[in-house]
């Protein structure tokens, strides 16, 4: 059971954190684990080879339940006599600092790109237009579209690595040289 707990809680944590954030995560993970083990004991899982699909279904139901409860309690917040408490949903200061640094990096990447490439990325990531629509509207091929995205991602990764290296005392140019060398070897 201990081994099962170790295996399951890692994956349950990943799903719940991704869908619901880190608030009360340990409690939610524990609840999900109990639900899964109890339903297995009850014999709800008829085909053992479908275990992971079953786990996924249980977690998704649980996520839907939490979202339903959150919606309900938010609705009740308009009633001041209800007694619901507004929780702080902001990320912790360290997380916020990292996100701020990453945002600066992404802005640097976008600002160094040609206007057309920037437009592609804004349409894709912000306006959520499909690649097909972007290519049609901007007269691009699928390959040009993919290249624009992958160049921006490579630049972002490179700047991120350089920042990390500076913190550790390496120079940014050394990281860039190493990346160029790796690319040459790969091509």
């Amino acid at each position: 059971m201990e081994e099962l707990y170790g295996v399951f809680t890692t994956v349950i944590r990943f799903y719940l954190c991704r869908q619901l954030g880190s608030q009360d995560l340990d409690d939610k993970v524990h609840d999900a684990f109990l639900t899964i083990t109890q339903s297995i004991r009850r014999g709800d899982l008829r085909e053992p080879e479908r275990l992971m699909g079953y786990v996924r279904t249980v977690i998704r139901r649980q996520v839907a339940g939490y979202i339903g409860t959150a919606v309900e309690s938010r609705r009740n917040l308009v009633d001041p006599d209800h007694g619901a408490v507004l929780r702080d949903r902001q990320p912790d200061p360290e997380r916020r600092a990292i996100e701020g640094q990453n945002l600066d990096l992404a802005m640097r990447v976008l600002n160094t790109l040609p206007r057309r490439d920037r437009e592609v990325l804004v349409r894709f990531y912000l306006q959520e237009q499909s690649p097909r629509q972007i290519c049609r509207d901007m007269g691009l091929t699928q390959t040009q579209f993919r290249l624009t995205k992958s160049r921006a991602k490579a630049r972002f990764t490179e700047l991120g690595q350089a920042r990390f290296a500076r913190r550790l005392g390496f120079s940014a140019s050394a990281v860039t040289r190493r990346n160029e060398k790796a690319r040459e070897q790969a091509s």
Binding site: R18, R56, L103, L105, V122
Partner: protein, 75 residues
């Protein structure tokens, strides 16, 4: 032959998953694979972070681009 659930995610699939651009069936396959594959979970986590930061940066960029236009229109 490896089943669909055993297949690792490539970068494009991870990004589509992060953006929610997959069919329910494909997303279910990926999610079931993620339950058994730590490297793919890491890839999805990295993809989630990248998509989120690019979305925020694109929104900020749009705001900055529109600011001078609004100023000019207000004159």
């Amino acid at each position: 032959m490896a089943s669909k659930v055993d297949r690792h995610l490539d970068e494009e699939a991870a990004e589509k998953y992060s953006l929610g651009h997959l069919s329910a069936r494909k997303a279910a396959e990926i999610e079931t694979h993620l339950l058994i594959c730590e490297p793919c979970r890491q890839a999805v986590a990295a993809s989630d972070a990248y998509v989120a930061v690019m979305r925020n940066a694109a929104a900020k960029l749009r705001q900055e681009e529109q600011r001078p236009r609004r100023k000019a229109a207000g004159r």
